[in-house]
Amino acid sequence: MTLSPQEMDRVVLARSISKNFGPVRALSEVSLTVRPGAVHALVGENGAGKSTLAKVLAGIERPSAGSMTLGGSAFAPRDRADAKNRGINMVPQQLSLVGELSLVENYLLAGRRRLANRRSARALLAATLERARVEVDLDAPTASLTQAHRQLGEIVVALAEGAHTLILDEPTASLGPLEVGGLFEHLRSLCALGTAVVLITHRLDEVRQVADDLTVLSHGQNVHHGSATGLEPAEIARLMVGELAAPPPRAARTPGEVVLEARGVVAGSLRDARLDGVDLTVRSGEVVGIAGVAGSGQNLLLDVLGGFVKPERGSVTLAGAPAGASAAGLLRAGMAWIPEERSEAVVPTMSLKENLGVYATAIGAAAVPAGAPSAEARLRAFDVRPAHPELVASGLSGGNQQKLLAARELGGDPAPRAVLAYGPTQGLDLRASQAIRERLVELAAQGAAVVVASHDLDEVLAVADRVVVMFGGRMIVDLPVGEAGTERIGRAMAGLAEPAPAAAGPATADPAAAGSAPADGPTPTQNQGDPE
């Protein structure tokens, strides 16, 4: 990378940074150049050292070895405030806005003046908003803002504090596609004003979308440092994880008897679209993918299937469980559950071993049956790092907590009879994601009925045998994966596809009715023959 003289005086250079945590070497001789006015993507697997490097830059962690310069002079921040004063600020993964205070007050909170002058702070933030062409409510408590606005608000506060180099740690992890697009536009306009942005991300397509420079970390080492242009996501992935085995070809599986069935389910919730007569049949050996934009009812459907929400009308049956069984009853009958919010399923204050055994404790099973795999073996099987059974779960990174959850739900003995998973690979890198998907397919091959819901269409298409699209609380498409092209599903997710049948209720989800839109190619037939 060549630098113009103007760029030189604000450029952040890190040379041979190493960081050890006890015996663990998180970073090893990593060098990095952050140019002003450019987006620098920092990618790598879970645990590759991205966040550690970012924390070193932002002054939160001190490097064990190596040096940094800022605009040519030495830069060794004592703490975050010190780095902030030099113009380097980090927006952490866990946002640092105080929920009860407004953005203006959050800005004043970290200021240097003793008196809080709301008016001038507000004017400054408003000007920053305008420059960055963002609109966020400055006076509402930040807890009442949407996730995307909080993210933007955090960035705006950092800019108002005088940051010329912004480090964003996975800002897009909790944002929807539209919000991500908006955020990137803002980042680009910030760069046009000369701000440097370091963007940590898992999503490789984002690198192509927005990044100018790219640093790839792998196991704490810098494996690529340079321009991001001309690099395809596949190449970046290869840099990150080495050669990734292609997903094994889909073995043909013949669906067996019905394991999980919902009939005419009507249910409501504050968080999701109201289910309006949903029928779903999942057979043994089948992976059903539920696609749909967030808030279309798929979350509630999974809650109903899992027995967490009682439907107002209709029924849910799991083979082997009594009709109308509670969530605990379904659990005993072999239901595995991976919720969208992993905090609903992982107990952060318990050890990894206790988290794995939490159901046994709840049910009252006294001892681990002889011959069952040890906690450590189960953790290793799902590559939970570190695989230390006595470690407290909150000590794991987000991705590793997700792996822990998968290890409990999918790696149990006996294998689950039915699996409900919402975004089972969220926060995971490519290799770990692929492992989880393979495990889901393997469970199906062993006879489980698997339901995978996700906002990420690629995830659904990667594992599902059958794709169901939900829109506004109804099932509007039910297709075998072979016929479910991305475009077709995408249209259905936007509610554009087949016009909803006139009659509401059970007919809505009738595959024949749903699939027979005139504009949409041949009528799918595979489900018509299924005995209901």
């Binding site: 946002l95 009860e100 004043l108 008196l115 709301r118 944002l175 929807g176 539209l178 919000e179 967030a294």
Partner: protein
Amino acid sequence: MSLDLWVAILAGTLALAAPLVLAGIGEGFVERAGRINLGIEGMMIMGALSGVWAGSIGGPLLGLAAGILVGLLLAIGMNLVVYRLHANEIVVGLGVTMLGLGLSTFLFQLWIPSGTTNVTVQTITGSGNGPLAGIPVIGPILFGQSPLVYLAAVLLVAAWAVMRFTRFGLAVQAVGTDPASAALRGVRVQKVGASALLLGGALAGLGGAVITVGTIGSFTPDITAGRGYIVLAVVIMGRSRPIGIALGALLFAFLQSFALLSQSTSVTLPSEVYQSLPYLVTLIVLVITSRSQMRRLFRATRAPEAENAQDARDAGAGTARTR
């Protein structure tokens, strides 16, 4: 009951509310910083004793200063034990209260052995002869008060201004509601909490000194009579806001004043009933306000979560929900 009696009751209300308001302002800061000071009763009574003692040496102003100092010292000790040595704040708070009650009695008996005459100090009394004090009814209630009552009112406004217009006030709120985020923003959580606790201790000591130096002029064991706990109740009732604290303190003080003065009227009830009335009513009001607070809290924590999730989804979907 005659008008004069009502005037006396209302004038007494303001005088009795002053120590509650002073200690309440301090405890308001403590509670908004997410801590609780159960040692407030002990700090008040130690402040009351040291106020009389110093007052007998150097006059009432020195007495007030001694009250502040003793409250501050106790709070420093409490901060050290609870937040440096990580002892339980409830237990330590109660310990400070018990220590204060016992130690004040012990020191008082060392100072004035039983059988000797109690020491009386000069009190800070109202001017009583200002031009406005002559106005009937309102005059004696509002303008004939001790300067300490006006001090309490001024500090009330000052507390509001500090909460709203200073970085310290914002930091206290941030630390109390979301210490993790506050720390990430660069607020020093421990330091802000300690400042709030020291402020609370100093004002509790002042409140105690105001009871003795301000109105009574002498110390007797257990003179605070549970006012420290009433302050806690008042702060919780008033949701740690200055205006709420003032209203709560006035309510309790009114009942107390009423109980004191209406005993002399023709309504004859056992005096114990009168004495327990303020506490009983405070208890009832506390239950009522706590219930509404719980409801508000529940809405505040649950509803936005659901809405946020919904908003995020709506935004992600780019479509309006149909239902």
